[in-house]
């Protein structure tokens, strides 16, 4: 998997930091988390293929998280999209699409399948092939959904040494065992996959928590995550303001990452008040609590080795 940060800004975009949008590239598809104004342009800047976009998740209806949605959808139509697109987000998504379609005289030639989360206080799980996405309510001024994408566990690595000691010839028999099939060797011996495969490997996990104050659900979503992308709107001297506005400081984000046992923290939703020269201080504050932190920038890519 690969994460592409399309927008790492907060409510007020700057030339360097556009409104929230995060792409997650998986085999054969791209998922988008939030779709702030200009996300479709950043999508192009990052040279992502619009045809690969399969699912869009919207955290909440503050403008910096969804004002770019309708423009992205209409552009997909103009690119002659045919395959369905899936949208997930709070109740209101359908009404928004209907209103904008009518006002802008727009008709979609592809299906937009909307799943609205109506009970925002409960955990919601969507199961897909090879992975699941869980949404949980965070703690913002209005309810915002945090997301966790968790890949299904992968079969263990093929242990060549064991295969050789069992006399399994190179070729299709090894391939079948790797895929989990039992095989019979030329000499009549039956071999089970478990005899030549290492332990099952856990799937990769990515959590995306914004906008939010520090909260228990962010920790749930980020549990053992390979990457946690978290609201880090302010430096830690602004704790009161973060509390008032329903955001987190970079240190609070680092505390969540530490408590959840995440492997890496990516700070995003950085307030427009911080200039380039302020960034080392923001990063240092977070790294004192959680060393493996990066401060996200627009169009930055983060690989997650599988």
């Amino acid at each position: 998997m690969e994460i592409v940060l399309l927008g790492t800004g907060a409510a007020l975009p700057t030339r360097q930091r556009w409104p929230s949008a995060t792409a997650l590239i998986r085999p054969g598809e791209i998922l988008l988390f939030d779709c702030g104004e200009g996300a479709q342009i950043q999508f192009q800047q990052a040279q992502l293929k619009p045809g690969k976009l399969s699912k869009i998740f919207i955290s909440h209806f503050h403008g910096d998280h969804f004002y770019g949605l309708i423009g992205l959808l209409t552009s997909l139509q103009m690119q002659s999209r045919e395959k369905p697109l899936h949208l997930y987000g709070p109740h209101g998504l359908n009404a928004y699409l209907e209103f904008m379609k009518k006002l802008s005289h727009f008709t979609f030639g592809f299906k937009i399948m909307v799943q609205e989360v109506r009970n925002l206080s409960e955990k919601k799980v969507w199961e897909f092939e090879n992975y699941r996405v869980t949404a949980r309510p965070l703690h913002h001024r209005i309810t915002s959904l945090g997301f966790r994408l968790e890949e299904s566990p992968k079969s263990g690595r093929f242990l060549v040494g064991k295969a050789e000691s069992l006399g399994i010839p190179e070729g299709p028999l090894r391939g079948k065992l790797q895929k989990g099939e039992t095989v019979v060797l030329p000499n009549g011996t039956k071999v089970e996959p478990s005899q030549v495969l290492g332990p099952e490997r856990p799937g990769k996990k990515v959590a995306i928590c914004l906008d939010t104050k520090p909260c228990a659900n962010a920790i749930h979503l980020a549990k053992d995550a390979d990457v946690l992308i978290h609201d880090g709107s302010f430096d830690d001297s602004k704790r009161d303001w973060a509390e008032t506005t329903g955001h987190s400081t970079v240190v609070q984000a680092a505390e969540i990452a530490r408590e959840a046992g995440a492997k890496q923290l990516v700070l995003t939703h950085i307030s427009a008040r911080y200039k380039e020269e302020d960034e080392p201080e923001l990063l240092e504050q977070a790294q004192r609590v959680f060393p493996n932190t990066i401060l996200g920038h627009d169009l930055e890519r983060i690989a997650i080795e599988s």
Copy 2:
């Protein structure tokens, strides 16, 4: 006056050409014509002062002309704007603002004064201090408004030679005459402004016509304009497609400019199909009909000497 092209793209934005938006800088204020997605970011890129923005005119409700409006307005609020902002456009503007405010839980602390054009088939004139803006219906798939900004005529130049021959001393008396006041010289002679001022000078005129097929109202709006900014979506081999989609080719735009007696033509709303290497051909096609043509680019500035 100065024109700043913020978005010269068509329906499908590209990395080089964002959706429609044109800023017009006047003494003490900035007017914006259309507000496609990302206009607020281009406004920053062009280093325009948001506090100077006084009026926004929306031509029509195809997405590439207004999807950036709500984001621009909410950002003005976050920049603590206090003074009113005036919006002009087709019926539907109010409903759009109300819907988006409600969905995104947004409250404005400054007044947004909306003037909707309800009868789109008639000419509409708004009078301001020192200039007027006229809107006329163009010929697109849905009714789109074209605009003409015309400055009030300016008083003639002060003719120093005449003033000297009349024995008018340098200083406040000359200033009064320049402002159009009659004065009495120390020797008792009465002098009228017309005795020392050259002929009244016409005000500058800018016309903005998109989206549209060639139409009579575009010619009306562009009559003797110093600058005509016109839909030039396609090269001239695409006349049929321009007709089908309600747009103009670059040659049709040039014909409008010639017929209207405009001084300069700026082609905009350039289709995403044209790459940088196609631009010389587009420009040449137009220049064969109307030599003083430029092909607009995002963030290009066009000065209009007064």
